[in-house]
Amino acid sequence: MSGAPLPVPAPALVDVSGLRIGIRQGSREPLRVVDRADFQIGRGEIVGLVGESGSGKSMVCRSLIGTLPRRGAFIMSGRIEFAGHDLASIDERAWRDIRGKKIGYITQSALAGLNPVMTIEAQLREAIDQDLSANAESSAARAKGLLDVVRIRRPEVVLRQFPHQLSGGMRQRVIIASAIAPRPQLLVADEPTTGLDVTVQAEIMKLLRTIQADMGLSILLVSHDLALIDDVCEKVVVMHAGACIETAGVEQLAKPKHPYTAALQRSRIELAAPGQELVTIVGRPPAVGSWQAGCRFADRCDMARSDCRQGDHPPLRPIGQGRSSACLHWDRLP
């Protein structure tokens, strides 16, 4: 893993700025679930998106693959620049050329992503046909090749099998294979190892890194597990209550510049001595729809002052060395 702080290589592959996402609720005001997200993903970068459940990270993922409407959600404002498009304002027709083709997606549940009545080969060939860059290689040969890429042994046997015949780890490999089949530029992986065993999780993470290196694509890895992010990513984006509150290189994050990140780091079990009292974050994240004025972490923060509870949520601001923090008092952290 590289040691130096990583400035974002210009131009970034993905540039999300001022993103606000709401959920429609009939005649009432839309419920804001993301307010606001700002981050970049450089070409060939693996970026981690971390936050508690309900912090809005899955909604941000959905905005990157254009499936917000399926959850009754929509983009209220902001931009998502991707390869010359503003994904925040394109229509469903335009999405069809991007979703699953230029931007791949891996979900949490390794079974939900596969069709139970289709063989692995049929599913992979369907994914390969999404590849817009016409390729001379037959889709049958590429299907087998893809299983090699995701390190599945005896691919000729697996190609003829159905999802239920595979283990959870194998299914997740097949999902990854079909996600990368159309040679996307970006892979969005939303908690890809939740529910998998630790040894399988380690293998999948290693695989994601290998694929990134071989294919040169960018990966957005969503997780609530900082330890996992630590191992795999170069850059981290931390979300709390619908807002991006800190971005930094993964090594820089060992010295957090937002009290929420600092609290997350201190509550890490694997870094604590056995039996030593663990630091916990008081209270719970403010519920969507009842966000207070000012910083939404203020009520859980022991550094909060009166200016933290005024106006809008503080925006993410550059604080040097390529990192940003939304804390008004970040310089008071060690």
Binding site: M1, V198, T199, D231, E270, A272, P274, E277, T280
Partner: protein, 263 residues
């Protein structure tokens, strides 16, 4: 190690099989363990290793085909019912998913009060007072105690679930993957709670696939694979000097250890 009669709980040669004929499947094979008073032991293994079946045997929900469990010197499975008489309430279980194991129509208070009433045969009014006390000692405030499971966070639900188990005033808590459905900060809260309970003399059997959690809480650790214990001993020994290949693979898979060099 001390003598078997000093231990609170001793399991010897446990075996459990499911199905019959060609479909017979041995989920637990010849497993033995012991647990001391105020001690925490960890059982680590991956899905399908048999650790949940073992947990069910230890709390008396599943009768083993072979082997025995002795609790406070008395045999658990000899009578018509496991855990005869007053031993019954002394071994309690905490399940993985607090959402499905809590009654959706009862408030946190109602859940704990009901358990308290059953175990202590007192009036509901007294049970509610005790329930408030137990919940408060677990960091569930009075106004949250009146909420239904769906209105609580995952971490709060798990603490309610522990409170329900504790209302039996058990000597042993068997916790099956209690941290796997909750956020990191809630995990930390639950583990702090377990530590406090250990200090108060409770014994805990923690079953998990998460080695970081096991290492943090358990004095001794057993590594389970395909129904068998492949390794067992003092936790620090198991982690710093794993003898079995499978244990080594598990330890190498713990995320977040590379950079910080924990351990």
């Amino acid at each position: 190690m001390s003598n078997a009669e000093d231990h609170l709980m001793v399991a010897d040669g446990l075996g459990v099989s499911f199905g019959s004929g060609r479909n017979r499947f041995a989920a637990v094979k010849g497993v033995s363990l012991f647990l001391g008073q105020g001690e925490a032991i960890g059982i680590v293994g991956e899905s399908g290793s048999g650790k949940s079946t073992l947990a069910r045997v230890l709390v008396g929900l599943q009768k083993p085909d072979t082997g025995s469990v002795t609790f406070k010197g008395r045999s658990v499975f000899d009578g018509s019912q496991p855990y005869p008489g007053d031993l019954r309430r002394q071994v309690q279980m905490v399940f993985q998913d607090p959402y499905t194991s809590l009654n959706p129509r009862l408030s946190a208070l109602g859940t704990v009060a009901e358990a308290w009433r059953v175990h202590h045969r007192c009036s509901m009014a007294d049970a509610r007072e005790e329930a408030f006390r137990v919940l408060e000692s677990m960091g569930v405030a009075r106004h949250d105690a009146l909420k239904k499971p769906r209105q609580l966070s995952g971490g709060q639900r798990q603490r309610v679930s522990v409170a329900r188990s504790l209302s039996a005033e058990p000597s042993v808590l068997v916790a099956d993957e209690p941290t796997s459905a909750i956020d990191q900060s809630a995990q930390a809260q639950l583990l702090n709670l377990f530590n406090r309970l250990l200090g108060e003399g409770l014994s805990i059997i923690l079953i998990s696939h998460d080695l970081a959690v096991i290492r943090y809480i358990a004095r001794r650790t057993y590594v389970m694979r395909e129904g068998e214990f492949v390794e067992g001993g003092e936790t620090e020994q198991v982690f710093s000097n794993p003898r079995h290949e499978y244990t080594r693979a598990l330890i190498a898979s713990i995320p977040g250890r590379k950079r910080h060099g924990a351990g």
